[in-house]
């Protein structure tokens, strides 16, 4: 049995990339750092209670009282535990990684939906990204981007992107074939069909994908703490390394609060979109013009 070593070539490749693509990585670093800082600034510049009020208002708008009350109490608790800044740091990384992941995953999902060949290429890549232990690509991420929020954001992006692509592809592929055919039959251009028929009809699935991306990104918060991204991850890591159960638990609770808040908020958005489409009709009465149409009354009775 010959010994096969694929670790060395990969390590060499990473070295080679680090040396030769430094400007690219620097650029990515700069962009991600910029976005993360902007979001972090928006979240931390106002006093915590202002931000909490905004979150509560969002929660109320999305789901009414119960969720608003939860949001208010939960974030007051985060603040009271002294974890406000850490929580906002984590939230900033999660939001930036999610937005970028969605920005990448929707076009890739559309591409995979339109071509079986693309789909067969994309699928194993996604499997690889999702199941390869996170620490394994956290190390090259540190090589490329140093330590801090950026490698954490990139690793989070890579880990979280899969459901966005998969659910976009699934959503578009499951749009009723006859409906797409109808758009063709009336002379629509491919991009018109995509924009006006396929994407809107795939939206519930795509929104479910966005929700999943967000949840996976949150699950990376603690691991991000290991590469010096700060935030709640650092808090939890501190708890672990000091065997301080209390600190670890507080950090963990704050992560859970963020997760519940983001999950309920985004799933409510998806549902709201659907509800708006299905608003009740004004209640028109069908008028049958004599001589132009057979009576639709029988149909109406079935409404």
């Amino acid at each position: 049995m010959p010994e096969i070593d694929i670790g060395t070539p990969v390590a060499n490749a990473v070295d080679w990339l680090t040396e030769n693509f430094e400007p690219l990585f620097d650029a990515i670093h700069a962009v991600m750092e910029f976005f993360t800082n902007v979001v972090l600034y928006l979240l931390t510049a106002p006093a915590p209670f202002v931000v909490i009020a905004v979150f509560t208002a969002l929660a109320f708008w999305a789901r009414k009282w119960g969720f608003a009350a939860f949001t208010l109490l939960a974030f007051l608790l985060v603040d009271a535990m002294g974890l406000w800044i850490a929580a906002m740091q984590s939230l900033a990384i999660v939001l930036v990684a999610t937005v970028l992941a969605v920005a990448v995953s929707i076009p890739v999902g559309v591409w995979a939906a339109r071509s079986d060949r693309a789909s067969s290429v994309v699928r194993p890549v996604l499997d690889f990204m999702q199941t390869l232990p996170v620490f394994v690509y956290l190390i090259p991420a540190v090589f490329f981007f140093g330590i801090g929020a950026v490698p954490a954001g990139v690793a989070t992006l890579v880990f979280a992107i899969a459901p966005g692509v998969r659910l976009t592809e699934l959503g578009i592929r499951t749009v009723d074939a006859e409906t797409v055919e109808a758009a063709h039959a009336f002379g629509a251009k491919p991009w018109q069909i995509l924009r006006e028929v396929q994407l809107p009809l795939a939206m519930p699935s795509i929104m479910a994908g966005v929700n999943q991306v967000l949840m996976l990104a949150l699950s990376m918060v603690v691991i991000a703490g290991m590469v010096g991204a700060g935030g709640l991850g650092a808090e939890v890591m501190r708890g672990i390394s000091n065997l301080d159960v209390g600190t670890g638990f507080q950090g963990g609770v704050a992560v859970v609060i963020l997760a519940i808040f983001l999950d309920r908020l985004t799933s409510a958005f998806a549902a709201k979109k659907r509800r708006r489409k299905r608003r009740a009709p004004a209640g028109p009465t069908a008028t049958t013009t004599p001589g132009t149409a057979a009576q639709p009354e029988r149909d109406l009775a079935a409404v």
Binding site: T179, A182, H184, A185, G187, A188, R278, P284
Partner: protein, 412 residues
């Protein structure tokens, strides 16, 4: 169905309609093999797997005249929907040519093909295929919006189309709020609003329940009377085909089995398959007086003598005779009793003894309309042409035989 004698010229019966009319669609040797390398196009390309499969459509040729209602009929798997989709190139033909209004469709570039689909040839789908996220009005205006008609005008024309199909006032609803029959009215309005003069209909009423299906057929017939479009209509329901179609093309395993008018297919099925198919059709609605009429046994002229006529009737074992003028128009009827009286009175003129104890129908009247008329009088039912000339008679026995489908019945 009325039993009125003054039926309008029924398109179902007028089998020869459009033979002289200009051609709208010409299909020649069209073949589709799924999985075979096809010419590239805008088709959505159904599952392209597996080779060496039998063709879905094999070497089909036919022409559809402008304004004709052409029905493609067959069971599932007969290739009828594939054939229909080749007419607007949703399915790319493997070989053969297709000409629409004299233009070879396979030579069109993508943009031209889209324009053809947008303005010339529209489609109505089996499961309606409406856009569920758009209002009924936006659905109806779809083709117009695609071609860049401004919003107000498109909405106005969409509303007109909705009114035509009996959905006035429903423009702001969403398709999901409508019943099946109403949704297909929207599907129809969407095709009508574009102003296209060729309509492809893929089993449009088969997802509807029977009562509503009948309403929709009526609506379609009415639309055709108001504005005659060229319609290619796919169905698996022979009664529907007979009711709507000027001509019917029966398909099986991708091949054309028979092409003809409803009456032709019913009275002269090309093979056992078609015969089997037509066995449960309501023959009384499809066959017409013209297809089952016979030569009258005895006719008389006004200048004949009563004894001569009575002798002829007696020889033919009839009960009476039609009296015709020079041109063959019916003047009246002589029954045996009246003739016997005339002979008894030594009358020499037939004119004094004529009665109007008869009924007549045009040769296009369906048999169902004959049932209540036949057998009432001493003479068999008269069949007349447009000028009122006697072209044949329908005795009660012939009518019963035709409806019962005995061998000797149809003598078209």
């Amino acid at each position: 169905m009325t039993t009125s004698l003054e039926l309008p010229a029924d398109p179902v019966a007028a089998g020869e309609t459009g033979v002289a009319a200009p051609v709208a669609i010409e299909v020649s040797h069209l073949t589709k093999v799924f999985g075979a390398p096809a010419r590239r196009g805008l088709g959505r390309g159904r599952s392209d797997t597996g080779g060496g499969k039998p063709p879905a459509v094999a070497d089909v040729s036919f022409t559809v005249a402008k304004g004709e209602f052409f029905v493609i009929m067959g069971l599932s798997g007969s290739g009828k929907s594939t054939l229909l989709r080749m007419l607007n190139k949703l399915v790319e033909p493997t070989s053969g040519t297709l000409t629409i209004d004299g233009r070879d469709v396979s030579r069109l570039r993508d943009g031209e093909l889209r324009e053809l689909r947008n303005k010339k040839i529209n489609m109505v789908f089996q499961h309606f295929a409406l856009f569920p996220h758009r209002t009924v009005r936006d659905n109806a205006a779809y083709a117009l919006r695609l071609r860049g008609v401004n919003q107000n005008e498109a909405a106005q024309r969409a509303d007109e189309a909705l009114k035509t199909v009996g959905l006035e006032g429903w423009g702001d609803s969403l398709p999901g709020e409508l019943s099946g029959g109403m949704r297909q009215r929207v599907g129809l309005a969407r095709a009508l609003a574009s102003g296209a003069d060729i309509l492809l209909m893929d089993e449009p009423f088969s997802a509807l329940d029977p009562l509503i299906r009948r309403d929709m057929q009526d609506l379609l017939l009415q639309l055709q009377r108001d504005h005659q479009r060229t319609v290619v209509f796919v169905t698996h329901d022979l009664n529907e085909a007979m009711r709507l179609g000027d001509r019917i093309m029966v398909m099986r395993n991708g091949k054309v089995v028979q092409l003809g008018t409803g009456a032709e297919i019913l009275s002269m099925p090309a093979d056992d398959y078609v015969a089997d198919f037509v066995s449960d059709v309501d023959r009384s609605r499809v066959l017409t007086a013209g297809t089952i009429m016979r030569q009258p046994l005895v006719t008389a002229r006004l200048d004949e003598r009563p004894e001569q006529v009575l002798d002829r009737i007696g020889a033919a074992e009839g009960l009476g005779a039609y009296v015709l003028d020079e041109d063959g128009r019916i003047l009246g009827v002589l029954s045996n009793d009246r003739l016997a009286d005339a002979v008894h009175q030594r009358s020499t003129s037939l004119a004094d003894h004529l009665t109007d104890q008869y009924a007549s129908v045009p040769d296009s009247a369906p048999l169902v309309d004959l049932c209540s008329l036949v057998g009432r009088h001493s003479v068999p039912l008269a069949v007349t042409d447009d000028a009122g000339r006697l072209v044949g008679v329908v005795p009660r026995a012939a009518l019963l035989a035709a409806i019962a489908n005995t061998e000797e019945a149809p003598r078209a």
